[in-house]
Every structure is written in structure tokens, then in C-alpha cells.
């Protein structure tokens, strides 16, 4: 299945060595070290928040809240997991916490707002139609598609991160794929 190809790509990007000395310094309260970590990891966290929320302003808020929460929780960071993974879990929790309070507003708002200038350094033409279609997905389907389809999570990982049953995760991915294919006109291909 195509998910395998996406996962391989995602995992390849996550095998870069982590800056353990910088992480240790940040855990010890070194703000300059934490800024270095921010510079390295913020694009991934912002991208994740942007896709999960579908709204640029909300993504900025969530990214900010995630790094603030990370700073306050650094003492509890266990180096058994990767720092990038730990950060992403914080970001996902932040998005979910925020959405629980604002769910109704999000569902009736314009979901594509703020995504017009998302860069796409990986290819020549920015796939804005795809970005807009993703941002317009129903929230539950969007969350699963973003984690599994773009960020390479397994269903087990995504279900755990989103607080879902694995069956829900799989059903939502199917739903997201169907809706996206319909929105992009891929069903006829």
C-alpha cells in the first residue's frame, strides 16, 4: 500500500542524529540552548500544527504554546524517546486541547484561511489545491490523514497520539482519502 512509501520517507527524515548536548543544556535551563532547539525543530512543529488546525493563526498559537509547554516540561523529558517525537506529541496535545474548546467555531469557519502562502520546497509547483483540500477535511479525518499520510505515523502511533481507538483511526483515514480524492477529482483517474 502507498502508506508504506510515505512512512519510509517520513522515517528517513526522522533518523537524523539529535543534538543531545544541546538538549541536555536546555534541560539544565539554558535558554540559548532551547532557542537552538527551537530553530531546529520549529519548522516541523509549525508544519504539523498548520496541517492539523488548517488555520495559520491557530497554528502559530499552537506552536508557541507547544514550545512554552516543552520548556516547562523539559525536566520530565526522558531520553528513551527522540526529542523530536516528544515535541510532536506535545504539539498534538496542544492542538487537541485547543480544538476541544473551539470545536464548533472551527467546524463552521473557513478552514482554508491562512494556508495560501504555505511553501512547498520539495517540488516546483506549490500544491495549494491539496493543502486547501486537506484543511477543508472534517477535523477527525484531517488529523489522522496529517499524522499517517504526511508525517508517517503508524495507525497505532496516531491513535495513541490522538487518543483514539485504532479502528477509529483506520476508518477516519479511509474517509479522508475518499473525501480528498473526490475533492481533487482523482476518482476518475
Amino acid at each position: 500500500m502507498g502508506t508504506v512509501q510515505i512512512r519510509q520517507r517520513a522515517e528517513a527524515g526522522d533518523t537524523e542524529p539529535e543534538p543531545t548536548a544541546v538538549i541536555t543544556a536546555a534541560v539544565d535551563g539554558d535558554l540559548a540552548a532551547f532557542e537552538a532547539l527551537y530553530r531546529q525543530f520549529a519548522p516541523r512543529i509549525f508544519g504539523l500544527c498548520l496541517r492539523l488546525t488548517g488555520q495559520r493563526e491557530a497554528a502559530e498559537d499552537c506552536t508557541q504554546e507547544s514550545f512554552v509547554a516543552a520548556w516547562r516540561s523539559l525536566a520530565r523529558f526522558e531520553k528513551r524517546s527522540r526529542f523530536s517525537t516528544w515535541l510532536q506529541r506535545i504539539a498534538i496535545r496542544t492542538v487537541l486541547s485547543r480544538r476541544r474548546g473551539l470545536r464548533f467555531l472551527h467546524e463552521v469557519g473557513e478552514p482554508a484561511a491562512g494556508l495560501h502562502d504555505v511553501p512547498d520546497p520539495g517540488s516546483g509547483a506549490p500544491p495549494l489545491d491539496l493543502e486547501r483540500a486537506i484543511s477543508a477535511l472534517p477535523e477527525g479525518a484531517r488529523h489522522v490523514l496529517v499524522l499517517v499520510g504526511i508525517y508517517g505515523y503508524s495507525h497505532t502511533e496516531a491513535a495513541s497520539a490522538l487518543g483514539l481507538a485504532e479502528g477509529t483511526c483506520k476508518a477516519q483515514l479511509h474517509r479522508a482519502r475518499n473525501l480528498l480524492s473526490a475533492a481533487l477529482g482523482l476518482e476518475k483517474s
Partner: protein
Amino acid sequence: MKDGAHESLNEQLARLSRDVVPPEKLWPAIVREITRKPRRALPMALAAAAASACLATALTWVVLHGRPAATSRGPATAGIAASFEEPRDPGYLAARAALQQTFRERLALLDPGTRTQIEASLAVIRRARDDIRRALAASPESPVLEQLLESTWHDEFDLYDDVVRATQPTLART
């Protein structure tokens, strides 16, 4: 859903960059926040309960009065909402059936009072869906009714999920 469509979609998803550079203003804002006293967390459970109550009230009002309020939607949303009904492809149906099966098994583990309440909630969701479908038949262009129809699938999934998770105490959550 055809395999070719999945392939094409996977290729498009694979071309998306996972990194997006945040605006420069974020780091100074983070520094300001982490160098001052922590604020108390918002009572999210209360906020969620209030939001749910608002949604239920809005749903009841719209369905009973059939007067949807105006709402703004982007073109991409319109395309998706217009095509929204539950997918019919075998993969989706199999996943949904598996989830429902787990839900039914876990439901049987609950005490009779709780089980009755959950079954009543499920019946409310399904009745609301039927009502909205009937309203949509009369007003097929109503974006609010489309949103509400979609939200009933969301609510049903949430209910299944809540029961499955609540009866799975060993599930690791961080």
C-alpha cells in the same frame, strides 16, 4: 475508491513538505511567555461541555425550525461538504464494522444503567441524522444542514471511541 486514485493521492501527499518555516515573531513571544509566571490552565472540560451544549442547541433549533443561518464557506469546503455522505468503499466499511463490533463488545461490559444511557445517546444521534436527512431532502442546498449531517457521523464515531477507550484501561496515553 480505485487503486489508481490512492496511488495518485499518495504521490501528492509524499510531495508535501513536512516543514513550514514559522514567522519570526514566534520566538520572542515564546521567550516572553516562558520568562513570566505560568498561568492557570483553562477549564477545558467545561469549555468542551459548553461547546457541546451550544452545538446540540443549534442542531435542535435548525432541525425543528428549518431556518438555517447564513454561513461562509470556502470553495474547497463546498466541494467536500456537497459530496459528504458516509463513504461506501469496502475498506472503509470493513474498518467501520470492526469499530462497531468492538463498540458492541465493550458496551456489553458496562453496567446496565450506563449501557442504557449510551444506547439512548446513540439513538438520539441516529434520529437527528434521519431528521437532518429529511430536512436536506427539502432543502438540498443548505450548507448548515450538510454541516450538521456531517457532525452526526463525527458524534457517532466519538461515542464509539469514548466507549472503546473507557473500557480499555491498559491503553497507554501520554
